[in-house]
């Protein structure tokens, strides 16, 4: 019987946002269209609802939130804390657990235990949550116990003080907002970054922007380091402008502890991307844009080849 709690990427299409959230749906769609997306599965929004229902957590949360005045900041912080704590301590129902265990075992049967755990919202409830990779993403997670812990962290992120405040002010029902979590094979990126298939500065659809740094792409997304920037002509990948930045550090997996950490980059003054890689990225960007029919904001990573980690429409083009 097909599980309603787990969906593999190959079973997901772009219309499945209510089940696997925006991020999950987009990854499934790319996977189905043979774009090289690292494989993975989604813990569905229904699994989250079941997690809350099974031990009556949903009612407790409702009772805690009902009398809350969102303008009372101290009280708000306290309630937010209590709810997040409850979610983190709540055990997974056994049948849900079995399905997640099985899926994780299949995903890691090649012997590589590292995965990324990413939350995938089913509704754009927080305006800032819609932006680039800013929902919770946990990298280089290893072992099923840690997977559970970070899935719970993703669940709990629906109840930060800011999230509760925003929903209260806009009269959204706290119990109607669901979340899905993506578990995806981790690419131990040598270099990674972001590509916009249109130039968001001058709104030109004939140009694209590629930014890259050594190590994981999260540092580019957050802006904690300054990446190399290329502006290319979309049709032939001709470089129109480039800005090379000395990269003093990057995010890498520590080979011993397995934890993601900032490490110095000894060859940081070199250009991150080769001409061939730029060509390949540009072609990939064109392909994805063509598939969706609109300019895309794409996260990519390079290990043995180029992988696409995420794609979504550019929000600001005029």
């Amino acid at each position: 019987m097909k599980s309603s709690y787990i969906r593999w990427f190959e079973e997901v299409r772009k219309g499945d946002i209510a089940v696997v959230g925006g991020k999950g749906a987009s990854l499934g769609e790319l996977y189905a269209n043979h774009i090289s997306v690292p494989n993975g599965f989604c813990i569905t929004a229904q699994a989250y609802a079941y997690f809350l229902l099974a031990e009556g957590l949903q009612d407790t949360i409702r009772e805690l939130l009902a009398p809350l005045d969102p303008e009372n900041t101290a009280k708000l912080e306290k309630v937010s804390h209590t709810i997040q704590d409850l979610i983190l301590k709540q055990k997974f129902p056994l049948d849900l657990r079995e399905q997640i265990d099985a899926a994780y075992n299949v995903l890691t049967e090649d012997g590589n235990p590292f995965v990324a755990v990413r939350s995938s919202a089913t509704a754009e409830d927080l305006p800032e949550a819609s932006f680039a990779g800013q929902q919770d993403t946990f990298l280089n997670i290893q072992g099923i116990d840690y997977v559970y812990r970070y899935v719970q962290r993703c669940f709990a992120s629906l109840f930060t003080a800011r999230a509760i405040y925003y929903r209260s002010r806009h009269h959204f029902d706290h119990n109607q907002v669901l979340i899905s979590v993506v578990i995806q094979k981790m690419i131990d990126a040598r270099k990674a970054g972001v590509m916009f298939t249109a130039n968001p500065i001058n709104n030109s659809r004939d140009e694209m922007v590629i930014e890259g740094a050594f190590g994981l792409g999260e540092a580019v997304v957050s802006g904690s380091l300054t990446p190399d920037t290329y502006i290319l002509r979309k049709t032939n990948a001709k470089i129109l402008q480039k800005h090379i930045s000395i990269q003093e550090w990057g995010l890498f997996r520590n080979p011993i502890t397995g934890i993601t950490e900032e490490q110095p980059v000894p060859h940081g003054q070199e250009e991150v991307l080769t001409g061939d890689e730029l060509q390949e990225l540009c072609a990939l960007g064109r392909q994805i844009e063509e598939h969706y029919g609109s300019p895309q904001d794409i996260e990519w990573a390079i290990y043995d080849k180029v992988y696409v980690l995420q794609s979504r429409p550019i929000t600001t083009l005029k």
Partner: protein, 495 residues
């Protein structure tokens, strides 16, 4: 120039505080940079501070001196090409000396030399490097104000040119070393085609030996030396050999004719815009300055390679760490020093922090905590005196407002509507602040970073990648953020 007594700390501090400094930074090693910096001092004739920490090297020069020299040279060059042509004749003369020296090294590889021969080589090499760097710094004098000077020359002549047109009339019109390397490889491919040579890898590698020898340095940098082998060029050669003879000839011609093509294009533009001779000489000056930069790099990359190889061989033979030797002055690499434990210990303290100060009396070296104190004083002074800050445009527009430096959520309460948000980077929690900001300026980040995306979403100007905004700007300053130019100007100090 001599190694002098360390001037008093107070003297150095006053010097730092009473001048406005121009900063240049690079990832490098003292072994490569000490001598060039001393050479620069000879040419610029102003006090210079040089700081090094890890692989980050910074040089500070008195900005006023640079600008005055650039201005004077420009004024002399308005009607005649003579000043820059004369400068280049001397430059090429000195470069030739260095070139002869390189040839001599290649004839007798460093790894095959005795220790004494290597020490002697360094003693001869260092003065040559010094001389070379004391005569090629003209281009750098135009660094702080070059764009402004060029714009005012255009204005003087009542000529308006677009950014692209300016780029064309000041672009180097020669083949740089990377292009020359490619041209030579094309020629080699063509010869192999013509003579129907054997195309096995072994045969091609033999053909590549002299090419690799000639261009072994092209992937070096100020930081890293990577001596290229014939095998490093093999893939590129094989790719060229996939083309037929006619295509190869065409590619080669395209490359070789690039300077001529640029010259013609420039000439067409100059004629169509009716550019007066006065301005033509100025454009010529800027073109030559960019060429000077290219050529200088070619020599620098080779110099670094030989210095690195000397250090490498000595490190092995004297059982000291190569990383330590990269912190030495070339002239310090002597038999006496290398066998002295104290010297090696001293080099290790340099890894943490060290400073070089140069003035008309000579140069002096500070190590450890002294260097750190001085470098801190410089960073503070530099932050205080600078009136402009440059970065990259991430969202267009122009705005004025009061600077608020936000390093964490604890700073949120000081932010008012209409302020300019200045931060190392932004995070989702910053969005409520960003919504009230008139503009955003960050130290780090690219066009796809969080700050950039949100600023575009909000339609407010945003400048990213300034590296220094949170250090150079202060709370309460009134600034203009001109994102299109990527420039923050201080309008009013804190009142």
């Amino acid at each position: 120039m001599v190694f002098c007594m360390i001037p008093s700390f107070e003297h150095l501090r006053t010097l730092i505080q009473t001048n406005q400094w121009f900063r240049q930074a690079a990832a490098s090693r003292p072994l490569y940079l000490w001598t060039p910096v001393r050479g620069v001092a000879l040419e610029v004739q102003c006090p210079i501070f040089f700081f090094s920490k890890g692989t980050l090297c910074e040089g500070y020069l008195v900005e006023e001196v640079l600008n005055a020299k650039a201005q004077a040279f420009l004024e002399q060059s308005r009607h005649t090409r003579e000043p820059i042509d004369r400068y280049l004749v001397t430059f090429h003369h000195i470069a030739q000396e260095l070139n002869d020296f390189f040839a001599a090294i290649q004839n007798n590889p460093i790894s095959k030399r005795t220790n004494t021969e290597i020490f002697q080589l360094l003693q001869t090499f260092d003065p040559l490097i010094l001389r070379f760097w004391s005569h090629n710094w003209l281009c750098d004098m135009f660094d702080p104000q070059g764009d402004v000077l060029l714009q005012s020359e255009l204005k003087r002549n009542q000529i308006a040119l677009s950014a692209e047109e300016i780029a064309l009339v000041t672009t180097p019109q020669h083949l740089n070393f990377l292009e020359k390397c490619h041209v030579d490889l094309c020629r080699l491919a063509l010869a192999i085609c013509n003579e129907r040579h054997d195309r096995t890898d072994e045969a091609l590698l033999l053909q590549l030996i002299s090419h690799a020898n000639k261009y072994a340095y092209v992937q070096n940098s100020w930081l890293v030396v990577k001596v290229l082998e014939p095998s490093d060029f093999l893939a590129q050669l094989k790719e060229l050999l996939l083309k037929d003879e006619t295509t190869l000839k065409h590619t080669l011609r395209e490359l070789e004719e690039k300077p001529l093509r640029l010259l013609r294009e420039t000439e067409r533009l100059l004629t169509s815009k009716n550019i007066p001779t006065e301005l033509r000489s100025v454009f010529y000056l800027f073109t030559k300055l960019s060429e000077l930069r290219d050529v200088r790099k070619e020599y620098m990359l080779q110099t670094n390679q030989y210095l690195y190889q000397c250090a490498q061989v000595l490190a092995e033979r004297y059982h000291v760490a190569l990383a330590d030797l990269l912190l030495a002055l070339p002239l310090e690499l002597t038999e006496k020093n290398l066998t002295h434990v104290e010297f090696i210990t001293r080099l290790k303290t340099r890894a943490l922090s060290h400073a070089l100060f140069i003035d008309e009396n000579g140069y002096s070296l500070l190590e450890g905590s002294d260097a750190q104190t001085l470098s801190n004083a410089m960073h503070r002074a530099y932050a205080g005196t600078t009136q402009e800050l440059k970065g990259h445009c991430a969202s267009q527009g122009k705005a004025e407002g009061v600077v608020r430096i936000i390093l964490s959520e604890t700073h949120f309460s000081k932010f008012h509507k209409g302020d300019v948000l200045v931060a190392p980077m932004t995070r989702p929690e910053y969005v409520p602040l960003m919504q009230r900001a008139s503009a955003i300026v960050t130290d780090e980040g690219g066009l796809t970073s969080h700050a950039a995306v949100i600023a575009r979403e909000l339609g407010i100007p945003c400048i990213i990648g300034t590296k220094l905004a949170t250090k150079k700007l202060c709370d309460g300053q009134r600034v203009e953020v001109d994102a299109d130019l990527g420039m923050v100007r201080v309008l009013e100090e804190k009142t």
